[in-house]
Subunit: 700 residues, 2 copies
């Protein structure tokens, strides 16, 4: 097959994803949006979400333009780079931003229509909620593939050597990371500031429950689900998706210097570079096909429907990738690359690396489920420890979080060794691509959760009949499990992506070993391993401060708006949305600077030390992220366990009991861990690796 | 000077330490032990402590003999090792065990005599408490130096090459680590099981306060202070002390192959090997001299007295070490060693490395104080967050713990680079020796804390006049600060010692680089970095289970012993001591096996992977230990801040307020973190490094 033909086919799959997403979005918009009250509530949420995006994007435009200008100036005179890196950067930021905008807009339409559909049955409700998630998922992969492949076509047309093409394309990844930083860290701060603020305001100014329409922070809280869990997760996976592809392209380019490979290759030596793009493109088609299988009948199990779609897609992808890889790559070749040395590669070996990625992603997700889902031993253990008070609940949750790092670390360790065994460093990078190839449907399942959650909230606020709430609760309960799996998957993919980018950085910076026996490198590892702690502390502190602002604003409204407490006057929801928005953007500056400046400073001191830093931040960040995410998830479900009546030694503990109060403390502690600081670490890992990759030509 | 002369002088300093410790112990025993009630309470504590030691040592003897047999068999046929390694091992275990026995016996005599002395004044009370600590400190350094130097003399007399002498001596360090594992991990579990058990039992069976003599767990709680904070800390520092010396000896032996060094050296090439022993010996003398300056007048500040002794000793040691190093080492030599390559060393450079160790240890201690002492911004912040409940208190404390890793990581990173800059890997190892050279007085100041704490408890239980309690409180408050500094110091020294042992392992195993770009090594780093999480989770779970046993036993006694609740019958304290003891020993088996088996298994799979594992466990363990220790310390003092009346925005929060209740939750959560799982990580780091060093000849 011709290289140029396949290059042009890839963006077509991206376009297809966007077109299909568009038709689903149109279909959602055509669904009934329910009663006037439902529409008003949904309208407030949608407006709040748009207000956040508008303000976020206003700051982002300035940030992106400044960084673009810096990139252009720094790279203009570099022989192996170009000012065009700023174009890649802006394109990456635009694509990620656009995906977030589309996803969130559709999610805030799908929520109320899910509620309305739940009035007729479970099947229609699942269909609407999942379609909403699918629009997000397909927008992410569609824009990712489209943007990347078009830039690749554009730069390949210039008279550049291949290293230069790749250096300049890496800017796309940096653009995606910048948006991810804002969306995931800022969004995480937003959602928890609103959540904790609404919750505590209810406690401080008594008699106002969290979901009560009189609570001015309640809309901000609902907006937060969309901002954090839809847009934030989307930007996170967009970054992983794009980063894993670029990392693999960089490593695949090393084979251009391997005569044996080039001689055999059907694409003139480019097949290893093109493979991640092709796998991503095929993954899009598989995701669309998989989505057709997500169907449930009344009384059926939505979890099963989602599993069939998700795991079916992964399995199908594994089979297809075998034929793709066998068709594209030479059956066997020996190459000598700087980092791996002389190694004999096989197409089958590359296939196994892809399978390892797919399997590792799934396994990490399942382990996450084991540690955080209701009715598991760890979660029931926390529920039991709630009986003796909040202190024992907290200790038990911390313990579960710590334990839960064990198996994922082993899976990653085995995955790294395995992927490398089959296909060297290229294997590690392509494993990440494999893991992320079905991101389209994966993210659909993820984003389905917060949409169902919102749908339930709207049903409650609009006082719909109990069977509606029962149906949305059923969807939501499944959403909690998929969210846990999705979080594990996001961390695992961030780790593999960061490792792929790490290898790409070493290649581009001309580093051929990172010897921790050297003191500077060991110091780099130590500093890198410390960053996740300080970054997490910053994110958690930000939530605390922003929640404080929110509580004050709620107090002001109760004092100044007459009739609010009596329910005769409307709360100024917009002010609360605005406070959360401003706080989120203000508070993410410090951690953002930390993530960007530290690798730049260390890199210019000593590029090898930066290599150590990358190793340290990746390893420490993955573990600390798993610890935080799983402790938080387990606390959440321990609370839910007690709310569903928890019986131990003959005694039953229910909502309102002392055990429940203790479990609520754990849940509140876990909230910022699992929704703000934990997920932010995914971004930290990748952002630092991308920054390193982008400055690699400058410090080489 | 003759090598053999100086070799014989070193054990003399060890003997001197023991003789002086003996005279201080005699002096303490001669002091008045107070009223009959005081003596009875103290007698119960002393008996409990002895009961713990007896049972612990009974298990230990079996463990030590089995490991000794394994070591003897595995090493008997190794040409560069010998069955005598089991003799080193047993000697190390014996010395550490004996130091713990002496320290704890004297501490349980000093506590009640401190109380009695406090009836006459602050000065006499400080004198008794500090003398008690000094006996512990001098026993540790005395037995460490004596044991090591005698083995060195013994093995040097055999017809062995030097690498073999060092390999066989390394068993001493493993013996010390084994005891440290039992004393620190087991002791940590003991102390918190008793503490949490006594506390919760009081809550569950109402009307029995924690310190009430009717609470059967109260003596176990007081025993715990001695078991955990005196014997545990002593064994921890004994391990660091011995490990740092042996690590430096290994690295110093590399100069025996440097002709330029040997030609110039006054000790025939052995000066770099002897230096750590000599510095340790001189440090003993400095510690004894420093102890003379710890004096306080009535109304004076005990903190100042301790600081003069401690920092004065460190400063004096720095000055002395300049002259010692200049006298012992050649002024300048160039050597080529496997790990460092060709490097020009100077005596002055080695001196600066020692200074870096002394300064880094002090700085990490001071940073710890900043994050955990009362009236600091972080601790007041936690106190403020307690007003909105226990959830915000916990979040704030976790945040402080995370932040507090930042500066210590930078100090260690700079210290590593600096020490290496001045004297290569030898510099890093000798920096650890520098840091630990004044362990004698450092540990005296540390152990003074729990003695004062016990003294206060006895004053309370014996219902002495309030001015006595005021004096012991003043001593205890200072003890909290010194404990925080001591904890930071213990972690920092564990890190440097582990790095020194790590370098020694690489030398002995014939590894000349640990390249994290290699997948097996990266996997090793990942697994290593995960171990502290799982190890901590095990330790925390152990505390929970053991505390549960304790609560049940307290309940049984209240049910079955007639008149206990009324105060007419005596509680069966021994049963509670026994439960805590058995639980501690049972629960430390799993984490102990983890720490020993993982490095052995990984090492036999791939020695380079073990190198990666060591790097991972050291870096991750240090950070996780700092996080846990400082979060715990900060929660503790946030509670104390509120107990001393905390005023915010005009409102005052005191003991018994809701803010105080929230702060108590934080303190309870922090207890196992700062006293069990956190300090256990010090042992994990060093133990894994020592195990690696001991198996190095087998996997080389």
């Amino acid at each position: 097959m011709d290289a140029s033909l396949i290059t042009y086919l890839v963006p077509v799959t991206g376009l297809l994803a966007l077109i299909y997403a568009f038709t689903r979005a149109q279909w959602i918009a055509r669904q009934d949006a329910g009663t006037e009250l439902m529409q008003e509530i949904a309208g407030n949420i949608a407006r709040g979400a748009r207000a956040f995006l508008r303000r976020e994007y206003r700051v982002l435009i300035v940030f992106v333009l400044v960084v673009a200008a810096l990139l252009a100036v720094a790279n203009a005179t570099q022989p192996d780079s170009s000012w065009l890196i700023s174009v890649s950067f802006i394109t990456g930021a635009l694509c990620s931003g656009l995906a977030g905008f589309i996803g969130m807009t559709v999610a805030t339409k799908a929520n109320v229509r899910t509620t309305q559909a739940a009035r007729t049955g479970l099947g229609p409700a699942l269909n609407v909620a999942f379609s909403g998630g699918l629009v997000m998922g397909l927008s992410v992969v569609g824009l990712g593939v489209l943007g990347l492949s078009l830039l690749f076509i554009l730069y390949s047309g210039l008279d550049w050597d291949f290293a230069r093409v790749i250096n300049v394309i890496a800017g796309f990844s940096l653009g995606a990371s910048s948006i991810a930083l804002f969306a995931r860290v800022g969004g995480g701060i937003y959602t928890k500031a609103a959540d904790v603020g609404a919750d505590l305001a209810g406690k401080v100014y008594e008699g106002i429950p969290e979901d009560d329409p009189r609570n001015p922070a309640t809309i901000a809280d609902n907006v937060g689900d969309n901002v954090g869990d839809v847009a934030g997760m989307g930007a996170d996976l967009f970054e992983s998706y794009v980063g894993s592809i670029i990392g693999t392209m960089v490593l695949g380019a090393a084979f251009l210097d391997a005569p044996e490979f080039v001689a055999q290759d059907a694409f003139g030596g480019l097949s290893a570079v093109l493979l991640p793009l092709v796998l991503a493109g095929v993954g899009i088609l598989v995701s669309i096909v998989g989505s057709f299988f997500v169907r449930v009948r009344e009384g059926g199990n939505p979890q099963k429907a989602l599993n069939i779609g998700e795991f079916g897609a992964a399995g199908f992808m594994a089979v297809l990738s075998y034929f793709i890889i066998r068709a594209m790559l030479p059956a066997e070749w020996t190459a000598t690359t700087p980092l791996v040395g002389t190694f004999t590669y096989t197409a089958t070996g590359v296939f196994w690396a892809v399978v390892i990625g797919l399997v590792a992603g799934t396994l990490i997700g399942l382990v996450t489920e084991f540690y955080t889902a209701t009715d598991t031993r760890p979660v029931n253990g926390i529920a039991r420890q709630s009986i003796t008070g909040s202190a024992t609940n907290i200790i038990a949750g911390l313990g579960v979080g710590m334990y839960s790092t064990g198996i994922p670390a082993l899976i990653l360790a085995i995955g790294i060794i395995g992927a490398h065994h089959f296909a060297g460093l290229y294997g590690i990078a392509i494993a990440a691509v494999g893991m992320l190839s079905v991101t389209g449907i994966q993210l659909a399942v993820d984003a389905y959760g917060p949409i169902s959650d919102n749908a339930g909230g709207i049903a409650e606020m609009a006082e719909l009949p109990p069977e509606v709430r029962q149906r949305t609760d059923k969807l939501d309960a499944v959403g909690n499990t998929t969210a846990a799996i999705g979080k594990g998957f996001a961390i695992g993919s961030a780790a593999l992506t960061a490792l792929g980018l790490f290898a790409a950085f070493m290649t581009q910076a001309g580093i051929d070993s990172i010897d921790v026996a050297q003191p500077r490198i060991l110091a780099g590892v130590l500093i890198g391993a410390m960053l996740p702690y300080v970054f997490s502390a910053m994110a958690m502190g930000a939530v605390g401060r922003a929640a404080g602002d929110m509580i004050k604003e709620v107090g002001r409204q109760f004092r100044e708006i007459k009739g609010l407490r009596e329910g005769t006057a409307r709360a100024e929801y917009e002010r609360c949305v605005d406070i959360s928005t401003r706080a989120a953007i203000r508070e993410m500056i410090a951690p953002g600077l930390l993530a960007v400046l530290v690798p730049v400073i260390v890199g210019f001191i000593d590029k090898n030390m930066l290599g150590g830093l990358l190793a340290g931040v990746t390893v420490s960040g993955v573990l600390f992220a798993i610890f935080q995410a799983n402790a938080g998830g387990a606390w959440d479900n321990a609370k839910k366990t007690i709310e569903a009546d928890f019986t131990v030694d003959g005694a039953t503990y229910s909502k309102g009991s002392d055990a429940h109060k203790a479990a609520v403390v754990g849940d509140t502690v876990g909230d910022p861990l699992k929704d703000t600081s934990g997920p932010s670490l995914n971004i930290l890992l990748k952002l630092i690796a991308v920054v390193a990759l982008v400055i690699a030509p400058l410090i080489a």
